[in-house]
Symmetry: C2
Subunit: 379 residues, 2 copies
DNA sequence: CTGAAAGCGCTTACAG
DNA sequence: CTGAAAGCGCTTACAG
């Protein structure tokens, strides 16, 4: 009868090959249906064991589980989120960019991430607090904790209040991510930020490199609003100081100064004092993003040949580095920190992936010669 | 009759609110069905106008189009890729990491991206060529062009041959992305890489900063295999030289040297010549990632107090920077370049987004004090 | 030129 | 304890 079959041996071989390819391809994506068939149950039952939903007879449960294991089933997330109606809310609590311009950047990253995971039914609820007002932090945090979000990203800049927030999160079994500030010994899902002490250490190295004189007076400037948190600044100072105590300790005489920035007059007064001193500074290390205030003072008073090192790519700082008044900016990819914080929660809540807990950003060194390629944030 | 309705006015109000909320939510996601209903056609017809598939009466086409416009329809990509069977193939052609260790890094980024877009039916076809063998580039490129991929990422390190490849891509209307090397005036979808000249310029600035003596001999070292492309190296040298001709031109006397690295003996010989010269070097700028070969020479010959600047975070370079033998490494996030190249094609082919054409990576300055936070690539 | 229907791999009531 | 069915928003033949 085979003469009726319109195919040669070669053709038969081809068909076999195609079949094998087909098998291989389908073998790659094993679905809920496949394991249902294998286990002689309905897909409903498979779903029940997959999600511990409803009771399933112990024996069938184990049966199904072993087949899942054997076939190496992984869910199709597209189908999952298409079919599912569960919504996720991620709450965010960070300092108001109005009160601290730096925070525009993490916020931009957070929003970029939000746009990307919207299609998976994720919604972001963004709240801000006044950087110089601990009460506003507490208030907003409580509001969020009462709203029962699926995840929580916040900057724990106020230590004591943050501990209370953390405790509540733990009670509620709410996943939380620290951004910018790290608090030890917590059950936080992840942290995204910089190693502050090390960034200060690096700044000191750059200062040392830039100052040729053998003995120099170097000032550590900490620009502060009254009642704003000082945590970061102190860590950065610590790192800076430790460099000069380890290396080149005979090169520098260090001075540390808090500078009130709540009014221009107060700022001028502090800086006047430094420059009127008999210990003429050859370098200033400004321990946060307000370095542009100091640069502006330099410009106004025509101060030259003093090395100025500060933090972060604020627009004002960019201008002063291009003018050559600021020599170095230490940066930390804040947009990326925001972006990754959101994705840590996405990975945890939706993909059920494990996420890295401690995530230190690179400590970027920005100078006039490379600033161009750091200006624009793009993910 | 309303006494039978078991609800108070308040309850009615609640129901109304819920309805409104529902309406608002559904208003957010307008689907193919909604516009079909509005246009009094079937979803099949809507699909036809959306994809220019099959002929549609002009009038209904315009009708549907205007409704799509009005309702601001955007397709649900999850559903799209779930239902669709179209596969995308992205071909990649880069130097073999065996012949040039640097390329492990772009490759890692490419693979990471591939894993992420696999669920959207994207497959990557990765081919490599021998960095010192132009023919192997041509051969592999032709192979790829014959395989009819959906997109093509390649490193156009050989200029003339690359022009031919580019021409073919244009003919085939194949979208292509340049990685690492940029060729001007092409229809490439995007470029990901560094501004080489500027990186050399920055290196010169760091060299100048690190050298205290007033007049110094500085060597520009270009480690090369015979017949390997030299394009990058020359650009970096150009930038380096231009710094010293613009600034501090009285500080440095520059010397440029090609160094054959095809054998250890050849390398030693060249470096011996430098150090035996009467123009004792105070700084060496090694214009590529093979700086570790020079560092190894330094170590072997106990050369100290010579500033050594090079490129890229290869494992060997990391070790020499930690030992203090290399002072600076200029880096460029090669993993990210690979990652983003793939996503450029994904955005173009699948999401139909417009993509930025010229994408320069940051020029990262790596020192002993910040290397820790650049070591691990993570997206 | 156009519509009705099946299906992508899941979730979610509902019925037994 | 378990199965059958509808549906998420699309695509893709198929039938007219």
């Amino acid at each position: 009868m085979f003469i009726y079959l319109p195919c040669t041996l070669t053709e038969i071989h081809c068909v076999q090959q195609i079949r094998q390819t087909l098998k291989k391809e389908t073998a790659l994506k094993i679905g809920i249906k496949d394991i249902a068939k294998q286990a002689n149950v309905s897909i409903g039952t498979v779903d029940r064991v997959l999600h511990n939903r409803g009771d399933v007879a112990k024996s069938t449960r184990e049966q199904v589980l072993s087949i899942i294991e054997e076939l190496g089933y992984t869910p199709n997330l597209l189908a999952k989120s298409l079919a599912s109606k569960t919504k996720y809310t991620i709450s965010v609590l960070i300092p108001d960019p109005e009160s601290n311009a730096y925070w525009e950047k993490p916020l931009a990253g957070i929003k970029a991430a939000a746009a990307e995971i919207k299609k998976f039914n994720f919604e972001l609820q963004i709240a801000t607090f006044d950087y110089s007002n601990e009460n506003s932090f507490i208030e907003k945090a409580n509001q969020i904790l009462g709203s029962n979000p699926s995840g929580f990203i916040f900057a724990p800049v106020f230590y004591e209040s943050s501990l209370k927030v953390i405790e509540k999160c733990d009670q509620l079994e709410l996943s939380y991510v620290f951004i910018d500030v790290f608090i030890e010994n917590c059950e936080n899902l992840a942290y995204f930020g910089q190693n502050s002490a090390q960034s200060g250490y690096l700044a000191a190295r750059l200062m040392s490199l830039s100052i040729s004189q053998v003995i120099s007076h170097i000032y550590i400037v900490k620009p502060l609003n009254p009642s704003a948190p000082v945590y970061h600044l102190n860590l950065r100072e610590k790192g800076f100081v430790s460099y000069f105590s380890e290396e080149n300790s005979d090169q520098a005489i260090l001075h540390s100064m808090d500078v009130d920035i709540s009014s221009p007059a107060a700022l001028d007064e502090s800086l006047d004092a430094i420059f009127a001193s008999s210990n003429k500074p050859l370098g200033l290390f400004v321990a946060n993003s307000r370095v542009h205030l100091v640069a502006s003072y330099f410009e106004k008073n025509k101060i030259k040949n003093v090395i100025l090192i500060g933090y972060d790519l604020l627009q004002e700082n960019i201008e002063y580095i291009e003018k050559g008044i600021i020599q170095f900016l230490i940066c930390q990819k804040p947009e990326e920190q925001g972006y990754k914080s959101v994705f840590a929660l996405f990975n945890h809540l939706f993909l059920k992936h494990t996420v890295e807990k401690l995530n230190f950003s690179p400590i970027d060194i920005i100078m006039k010669e490379n600033i161009e390629y750091y200006k624009n944030f793009k993910i």
